[in-house]
């Protein structure tokens, strides 16, 4: 832990560090991301508010230096007491062997330093308590001096060997833990679908493995580095930390806490690098403040971040490619729409232009019926263009909300008759059978709009079902509403298309060959019916595996409900 960081943050390191940052960051306006501003207002989650008490059980985490001192003291004390009790029974030299046991125990428990300490204490205790003259540090017999130094030599060598053995075992355990953690991390990452899941896995796993608060920052769509995931969730960043994170991204070096670059930040930041680019920035702060970022344990951080880099890179590419697919699809729709509109307007225009120029330049070579037919085709195509324009105009009125809706009792038979008459101006042979249930209550709505809806439905039936097949119009009361159905005997509509046919510009089939239309008729019908407070739906097949039925349901006019 850097002194500098500790000092500069002394004013904010209260019992709840993240709370402190909420307060501080709220006064800062230079942040470039509104998203991050809003995160600052979020209250810290109760679980991770104080990391030190939340996740550090004191009993299990005795500092190593404490062990290194206490174990030799206890061991040497115990051996001295035991040796003193049996000193009359066994030879003096054997007592020194007991001290060797204390050195070995200390070495295994506390390492090299502990072994040295135990050897020194043993030297003093052995001399003081057991070597004549007792109760002094002087030695009477010269050979005792030799024996003592031999003891110290043996104790040091034994202790060192034992300590090394203990260190190696610890290293092997650590290695195994790292490998397991890395393997586990890799397994979790590959099970994470999507960028968000990968980022959450990354911060969660590394945070738990290292006992640290962790976060990952990625560039958002505007290219601003912003916090994407954190462990515990909901962490926020002080301004210095944001600068440090950005520096880590731009300079591709570790920054922040315990580094040379912006050490006053309360997190350390590491760029997560893929082969070509910085895919994200990883931020962490150890839960135990004095645990250095460079401590042994963090050896696992680098391989974990490498794993994360691959997973994040992959997820980002997947997301980019999904976006590209969406935009390709929308471009395709746009171009299909344009080509459809262009075709629907250009065909009647071509026919009008062709007929008019033919009449003018070749009219005197044509007989009267031919000239008459050309004139009539001009009229008809002008009518078709007029309907297209009216459709587009209606659609615009629905979408802009400029529709004025009348809510009056409707004379259904008259409205149906007017719509049928309009269809017959286009196709005089249009066959339709109309029937009304007895005692039909009056529906409420707008007569003009409903006539347009019916006309669109009947015109569709004519175009898609063929005019030789009779179309049935039927009205009845149903569940307190008036339902009006239009049923054709055409091929019907696939179940998957029944809702899509109401989409704007949706048209079944493709290419020039389909019947002329803007793909707006049903969309307008739904817009109008909805505006009148009713519903419209399609059912197919209508009967005997054929045909399509459109059902309009309108509310019953007030005072008419039965």
């Amino acid at each position: 832990m850097s002194d500098c960081a500790a000092v500069s943050h002394s004013n904010t390191r209260g019992p709840d560090p993240s709370q402190g940052h909420v307060h501080r960051a709220g006064t800062v306006t230079s942040w470039d991301s509104m998203a991050q501003e809003s995160k600052l207002d979020r209250p810290p989650p109760s679980g991770g508010a104080n990391p030190r008490t939340a996740t550090t059980p004191a009993a299990l985490n005795v500092p190593p230096w404490f062990v290194a001192i206490v174990v030799p003291l206890l061991a040497v004390g115990a051996i001295t007491a035991a040796g003193y009790a049996v000193s009359d029974l066994i030879a003096l030299k054997n007592i020194s062997m007991l001290y060797l046991a204390a050195v070995v125990v200390s070495a295994l428990a506390g390492g090299r330093v502990s072994a040295l300490l135990a050897a020194s204490l043993s030297f003093l205790a052995y001399n003081f308590f057991f070597i004549e003259p007792r109760w002094t540090f002087t030695i009477a017999q010269p050979d005792e001096v030799v024996a003592l130094f031999m003891f110290v030599g043996v104790a040091l060598v034994t202790g060192t060997l034992a300590a090394r053995r203990s260190e190696q075992a610890e290293a092997a355990r650590e290695q195994a833990r790292s490998t397991t953690a890395l393997f586990e991390f890799s397994r979790k990452l590959s099970a994470s679908l999507g960028l968000d899941a990968v980022l959450t896995t990354t911060v969660g796993h590394i945070g738990q493995s290292l006992g640290a608060q962790t976060m990952v920052l990625v560039d958002d769509e505007a290219g601003t580095l912003s916090l994407a995931a954190s462990e515990p969730p909901g962490l926020s960043l002080a301004p210095e930390a944001v600068f440090a994170a950005r520096a880590a991204r731009d300079k591709r070096v570790p920054t922040g806490l315990s580094t040379a670059i912006i050490p006053e930040a309360d997190y350390a930041f590491l760029p997560i690098l893929s082969a070509q680019r910085v895919v994200a920035v990883f931020g962490m702060r150890p839960l135990v403040p004095d645990q250095s970022l460079r401590s042994q344990k963090n050896g696992i951080l680098v391989p974990m971040l490498e794993q994360a880099a691959i997973a994040i890179d992959r997820a980002q590419w997947a997301r980019a490619s999904a976006r590209a697919a969406v935009s390709r699809e929308s471009e395709r729709l746009q171009s299909a729409l344009l080509s459809s509109l262009s075709h629907d307007f250009r065909t009647p225009l071509a026919s009008i232009t062709g007929a008019a120029t033919s009449l003018r330049q070749l009219g005197d070579k044509m007989d009267a019926p031919t000239r008459d037919d050309l004139l009539q085709s001009i009229e008809e195509d002008a009518g078709q263009l007029n309907r297209f324009v009216a459709n587009l105009f209606d659609m615009t009125r629905i979408e802009s909300g400029a529709l004025k809706i009348r809510r009056e009792a409707l004379d259904l038979p008259e409205i149906v008759e007017r719509a049928v008459t309009r269809v017959r101006t286009i196709d005089p042979g249009f066959a339709v059978s109309i029937s009304f249930a007895p005692n039909l209550p009056a529906a409420r709505g707008d007569a003009v709009l409903l006539e347009q809806v019916l006309f669109n439905l009947l015109d569709n039936a004519r175009k898609y079902a063929g005019s030789d097949q009779p179309v049935a119009v039927f009205a009845r009361a149903e569940d307190g509403e008036v339902s009006l159905s239009v049923t054709d005997q055409g091929k019907g509509i696939a179940a998957g298309d029944l809702e899509r046919i109401f989409d704007k510009f949706y048209r079944r089939g493709s290419g020039d060959g389909r019947a002329a239309g803007t793909g707006l008729g049903l969309s307008i019908a739904r817009g109008f019916v909805t505006a009148m407070g009713g519903t419209i739906s399609a059912e197919s097949p209508a009967a005997r595996k054929r045909g399509t039925r459109f059902v309009i349901r309108l509310p019953v006019a007030r005072g008419e409900a039965s």
Binding site: S351, G354, A355, S358, E380
Partner: protein, 229 residues
């Protein structure tokens, strides 16, 4: 020319409705087809002198009709298309269509295109004639001499080939790709800038006012057309 048999392939009844009487009134014999299959049958059995083909057909892409017809017949094909379908037009022309006309069109323009295409088909003037003269420009293919108002014009071999190609197809559009392939070779089929430079040099030598060309006309995004008639 009159009396020629024309096949109109279009699935829009409105188009057939005016094209047929207009062509009949211009002394053509008219066959009609609404599908690609019907069109192929009529081309094979009735040998029309010219085909007017809409590119959007219900049973097949009009372009595939062109490819199939070209496998056994050199009958002139005029494509009906919309203004916003440049790539369609270029593909149709590269597949062997002779010309195109955009909807909506006046009948006079269509008749002019039909006459140009029929002349080519029968090997008349504008076909493989050895000399060509238009508005003061004279190209003598036999002597390889080009002159304007009887003043000889010096052209590089590439410019000469380009001009010859254009005048031999006078009145008819030739795509960039067709010009590039026949003059520079297949390897340069997409190097439109070669063509732009050569056309600019050619215009500077043969046009009265190169800034407002009257002989070599642009067909934007498609190719060039030498003013015919």
């Amino acid at each position: 020319m009159s009396g020629s048999r024309i096949l109109v392939v279009d699935d829009e009844p409105q188009i057939q409705r005016f094209l047929k009487p207009a062509l009949v009134a211009s002394d053509f014999e008219v066959l009609t087809a609404a599908t690609a299959r019907e069109a192929m049958r009529l081309i094979a059995t009735r040998s029309p002198d010219l085909v007017i083909l809409d590119l959007g057909l219900p049973d097949s892409d009009g372009k595939s009709v062109i490819a199939e017809v070209r496998a056994f017949s050199r009958v002139p094909i005029i494509v009906l298309s919309a203004r916003d379908q440049e790539s369609e037009k270029v593909e149709a022309l590269d597949l062997g269509a002779d010309d195109y006309i955009e909807k909506p069109f006046g009948i006079a323009e269509l008749l002019a295109r039909i006459r140009t295409a029929l002349r080519r088909g029968t090997g008349g003037p504008g076909g493989v004639a050895d000399t060509f003269e238009f508005s003061g420009l004279r190209v003598d293919a036999a002597a390889r001499v080009v002159s304007r108002d009887n003043v000889p014009i010096h052209l590089t071999p590439k410019e000469y080939e380009l001009l010859l190609q254009l005048v031999r197809n006078a009145g008819r559009v030739i795509t960039h790709r067709q010009l590039l392939t026949s003059i520079w070779g297949v390897a340069h089929a997409d190097d439109v800038q070669y063509l732009r430079v050569a056309i600019a040099q050619l215009r500077a030598k043969i046009e009265a006012d190169p800034a407002h060309p009257r002989l070599i006309l642009n067909e934007p995004a498609i190719g060039y057309r030498f003013a015919g008639e």
